[in-house]
């Protein structure tokens, strides 16, 4: 069989496993895995911008917050169903991302990281601002009701939400895959690696860079809306700068400029703090820091890069044994 067929079979098995998962573990674990799916969408979005396009963002928590708040406000004040809020959240974030991408065109490297970091730090304050309090609920935030499974399905709400998120994830990954594996992806990488040469080849740098910002924010916004529904609660302080740093950690650990890396990264940022929390309240971040340093020095390709390397070795070894 060709490697491509192997890959398809593997992907199918993985998907089947992911569908079966919520029926095998406790409700709390289902919730945790649900968050993994949400984070995976964010990390894919961030990877489009930072991994593929080379624009470092330390502020994606802000777009996540906007997506979450759009969903919460639509559900609370306008009585929208949860699934209808996703496209709106994505669209609103796309616009915000595109607008933030315009000034970001003039910022390179460290400066962009700095400006987005400032956005992340300022976000909770903006959400608490008293003149929008009637919409955002101020410091208290907004509580969302957990949606019931439709069509009279005999599953728990957590399981339904997990499956719903999984479907969205598959959709978003399909979009991301198609986007990154073609002309657009090559343009993004070309801009990252050599902006001047890319322009000379006829790639419209400014357009692609702002679009990358917008699309990246769109992914993050959809995930934010899903996250709000899953957690059933939004409040300014859950979107502090730490969240954005979490996302950066996710893509570095998972693998920069890798689609599968988003899933590894999401597993990492969801479960490592859980284990580390038992040692000390401060331990998760200390462990994050040490892991980050270790990955930068020892495994710059992240987990995805490691898997690729190991797979290549295995395939290579098999190839050698054949005459």
């Amino acid at each position: 069989m060709s490697p491509r067929a192997w890959k398809r079979i593997g992907l199918g098995l993985l998907l089947a496993g992911a569908v079966a998962l919520p029926f095998l573990v406790s409700n709390y674990r289902v919730f945790q895995f649900n968050m993994v799916l949400v984070y995976a969408i964010v990390l894919l979005g961030l990877n489009i911008l930072t991994g593929y396009n080379g624009q470092i963002s330390l502020g994606h928590g802000a777009f996540y917050a906007i997506g979450a708040y759009v969903a919460a406000i639509l559900m609370e004040h306008f009585g929208w169903p949860y699934w209808a809020t996703l496209p709106v959240a994505g669209l609103v974030c796309f616009v915000f991302g595109f607008l933030f991408g315009l000034p970001a065109l003039r910022l390179r490297g460290h400066y962009l990281a700095l400006a987005t970091f400032a956005l992340a730090v300022a976000m909770p304050q903006i959400l608490k601002y008293k003149h929008i309090e009637q919409w955002t609920g101020g410091v208290q935030g907004i509580v969302i009701l957990k949606p019931e499974p439709p069509f009279g399905l005999k599953i728990t709400p957590d399981q339904w939400l997990y499956l719903f998120t999984l479907a969205i994830l598959v959709l978003m990954f399909a979009i991301g895959w198609n986007l990154l594996r073609g002309r657009v992806g090559r343009a993004l990488v070309a801009i990252r690696d050599h902006p001047v040469a890319a322009e000379a080849m006829g790639v419209h740098g400014a357009l692609y860079k702002t679009l990358a910002f917008g699309v990246s924010a769109l992914f993050t916004g959809v995930a934010g809306a899903l996250g709000a529904v899953v957690v059933q609660f939004v409040a300014p302080d859950s979107f502090a700068a730490g969240l954005s740093i979490n996302f950066l950690i996710g893509i570095v650990i998972g693998g920069v400029a890798s689609i599968s890396g988003a899933v590894y990264g999401a597993l990492f940022i969801q479960f490592v703090p859980n284990f580390a929390d038992e040692i000390s309240k401060a331990a998760p971040w200390a462990i994050y820091g040490v892991f980050l340093l270790a990955f930068v020095y020892l495994m710059p390709g992240g987990v995805a890069g490691f898997v690729r390397l190991a797979w290549g070795r295995l395939a290579g070894a098999r190839g050698k044994t054949k005459p």
Partner: protein, 290 residues
């Protein structure tokens, strides 16, 4: 009018602290073109060191001196061990290392010293000096110390052979190396000095914002804004920018939008400066050749 003057003076005092931290940022930026995201957390950690020394019964100024020295050494060690390997790495790796340092310092401080908010002593008397009504002793003292640090650094860089070597290494590493300057060590020294200056800033701001592991996140943002306003490659610009940002923050907070959106002012300032005058007021305009 009195309230206005009071706002201006206390703005100058916090501005002095932003200026110190901005100076630390500029020092590292000048020699390596990196913006150190962990500068604030390093300063916070130094402040905790000073706190434990003072609580151990050491007189304030001895603790101050010792903390600055220890920070200097720690800064050098960090550059040599952690920053060195990624010196020529892609930008994302560098930023990631800075973020890693940030979270490590933050969490280790929380781990060792707990997250409870602590008061930090000020070395200056409680009564305002000369019976005035506008400025407290601590505020005046902070401004004084900032200026002393600035002058000392100026004298060091301008009149000592080592300072000259450091400037040369920052300006043209290749030629400096040919002239026999150990460029790597000069960068490490720059990191040490930055950490020491940052420690001074931490010690001065701690009595105002109280000591806790997250105390520097806002301060760091203002220091960034200050460095950018003044021009991130110009130490004097950064100091002036620090004072300006401090006053601006206080006045806008008091008269325009209230204190809740103070950090947003820093955000707007950072994005605004980067957009309209990326080199700041006194920075060099950078032209890249293809």
């Amino acid at each position: 009018m009195e309230a206005f003057l009071h706002q201006v003076f206390s703005g100058l005092a916090t501005g002095g602290i932003y200026a110190s931290l901005a100076l630390a940022l500029v020092m590292i930026y000048q020699s390596t073109n990196h913006i150190n995201f962990a500068q604030g957390e390093m300063a916070m950690f130094s402040t905790y060191l000073a706190w434990s020394m003072i609580n151990g019964g050491m007189p304030y100024w001895w603790a101050f001196l010792l903390t600055v020295l220890v920070s200097f050494v720690v800064g050098i060690v960090i550059e040599r061990i952690i920053i060195r390997p990624v010196e020529d790495a892609p930008l994302l790796s560098v930023v990631t290392v800075f973020v890693a340092l940030l979270v490590i310092f933050n969490s280790v401080a929380g781990w060792i010293f707990t997250y409870t908010i602590k008061t930090f002593p000020s070395p200056f008397p409680e009564q305002p000096p000369f019976g005035n009504r506008y400025i407290s002793s601590h505020e005046l003292g902070s401004i004084g110390i900032t200026l002393v640090v600035l002058v000392a650094l100026y004298l060091f860089f301008r009149f000592t052979p080592l300072g000259l070597a450091m400037r040369a290494a920052a300006q043209n590493p290749v030629s400096s190396r040919l002239a026999g300057i150990r460029v790597g060590w000069m960068l490490a020294l720059g990191w040490g000095l930055a950490a020491a200056v940052g420690a001074v800033a931490g010690l001065l701001i701690a009595p105002v914002v109280y000591l806790e592991p997250n105390m520097m996140s806002g301060v760091l943002l203002y220091a960034f804004a200050a460095a950018l306003v003044g021009g991130i490659d110009n130490p004097f610009g950064a100091v002036l920018g620090g004072f300006m940002v401090g006053v601006l923050e206080n006045l806008i907070g008091a008269y325009v939008i209230g204190t809740e959106l103070k950090l947003t002012v820093a955000l707007v300032l950072i994005v605004g400066v980067l957009l309209f005058k990326p080199s700041g007021m006194f920075g060099k305009v950078f032209v890249s050749r293809v």
